[in-house]
Amino acid sequence: MKKEIYQNPFFKANPVTVLVLGICSSLAVTVKLEPACVMALSVTFVTGFSSLFASLLRNTIPNRIRIIVQLVLVSLFVILIDQFLKAYAYDVSKQLSVYVGLIITNCIIMGRIEAFALGNKPWPSFVDGIANGLGYGMILVALAFIRELLGSGTLFGHQIIPDGWYEAGYMNNGLIILPPMALILVGLFIWLQRGIQKELIEK
């Protein structure tokens, strides 16, 4: 198996900053670290397994209705995740609200199935799915780290900024918790990455 399959998604072809897939959920669940981590793991699970099964079924799915078949396949795994979260992590499941269901329409999953799993053997497809899920999770956790630390002064709900700072006049940045700042942060990430990787710069 080629090295690129599991290396590229982390930096060179990151699903969020390079391929622009799965933006919807990456912005809405990154106010706190805990839901962001849960979301990252759930997406990794769903991408990995739906790529695996799509690849197993790739020769039997009629081309005309393949999107419906793929969506049904993906929603099976999302239902599993949703039921699991409701049973074992109810608070997080409430916080994520509709965004668990929206994993189905997360473009990363469909994007990877269409672009990779339909043309490759099951095992590389599975690895590709997992790697892309983790590449997406990486951005999610990085965003949530910045937003929770600067926005609420906590990490995983534990206070990090010492009380002394607040007494000295430090204030949490309320703006960074608001939705638009997530977009601006992703914009800055893209800027950073393209500054390092010149070949990605658009003409």
Binding site: C24, I68, D82, T105, C107, I184, G187, I190, Q193
Partner: protein, 204 residues
């Protein structure tokens, strides 16, 4: 809450893009010029407007706990709400496919101009998101659900046309090179989101 206030609220206050980031993928991919953005926007309004009432009825009469008691009292304690994702997405994918076939048959010109975007609507988070918000908010009747569908579709349409117009002008401005294209679009969407936040708390 009356119809008008729900309508205005779903366009501006609960805007699909600026408040919930739904449908960002196609929003960023298809907003390079106003003409295609306009076509995609109209198609999305249409698909939301058709699928959301269907999903509303399915949810009300089949999926919520005890909803099937109208068939026979024995089914009164049946709870099928765990199936809602699969049902919603199947309806959305099927309707999208149907719309694609109908447009292809009756208006080949429109089909060729929209062609590639039509099947993509099935994976547009805004369509699925609208159905899931409908389920979460538990609208009182079909009228509210339809008004909500129309409002959120129009909200998405406005957002994509606005950003496409800005991006067309942006081609002439001097943006730092690594920020060009994608990066600056994110930042502009963020700034527009801040502008849209001024609608928050509007009561009609």
């Amino acid at each position: 809450m009356d119809y008008l206030s729900l309508f205005v609220k779903s366009i501006f206050v609960d805007n699909m893009i600026f408040a919930y980031f739904l449908g960002m993928c196609s929003f960023l991919a298809v907003s390079k010029n106003v003409k295609t953005a306009f076509g995609l926007g109209i198609a999305v309004i249409f698909v939301i407007l058709v699928t959301l009432p269907i999903n509303y009825l399915l949810n009300k009469f089949f999926l919520t706990p005890g909803a099937m008691s109208w068939i026979s009292p024995a089914l009164a304690d049946l709870d099928l709400s765990f199936l809602s994702f699969i049902i919603f997405i199947a309806v959305i994918a099927a309707i999208t496919q149907l719309v694609e076939m109908i447009v292809e048959k009756f208006s080949p010109a429109l089909y060729s101009s929209l062609g590639i975007f039509l099947p993509l609507i099935a994976v547009n988070c805004a369509v699925m998101g609208a159905s899931l918000f409908m389920q979460e908010r538990d609208f009182a009747n079909l009228g509210y659900a339809t008004v909500y569908a129309l409002g959120s579709g129009i909200g998405w349409f406005l957002a994509i046309v606005a950003i496409a117009a800005i991006r067309e002008k942006l081609a002439y401005s001097n943006v730092p090179k690594p920020l060009k294209g994608l990066g600056i679009s994110f930042i502009i969407t963020g700034l527009m989101g801040i502008a849209f936040m001024s609608f928050m708390g509007i009561q009609l």
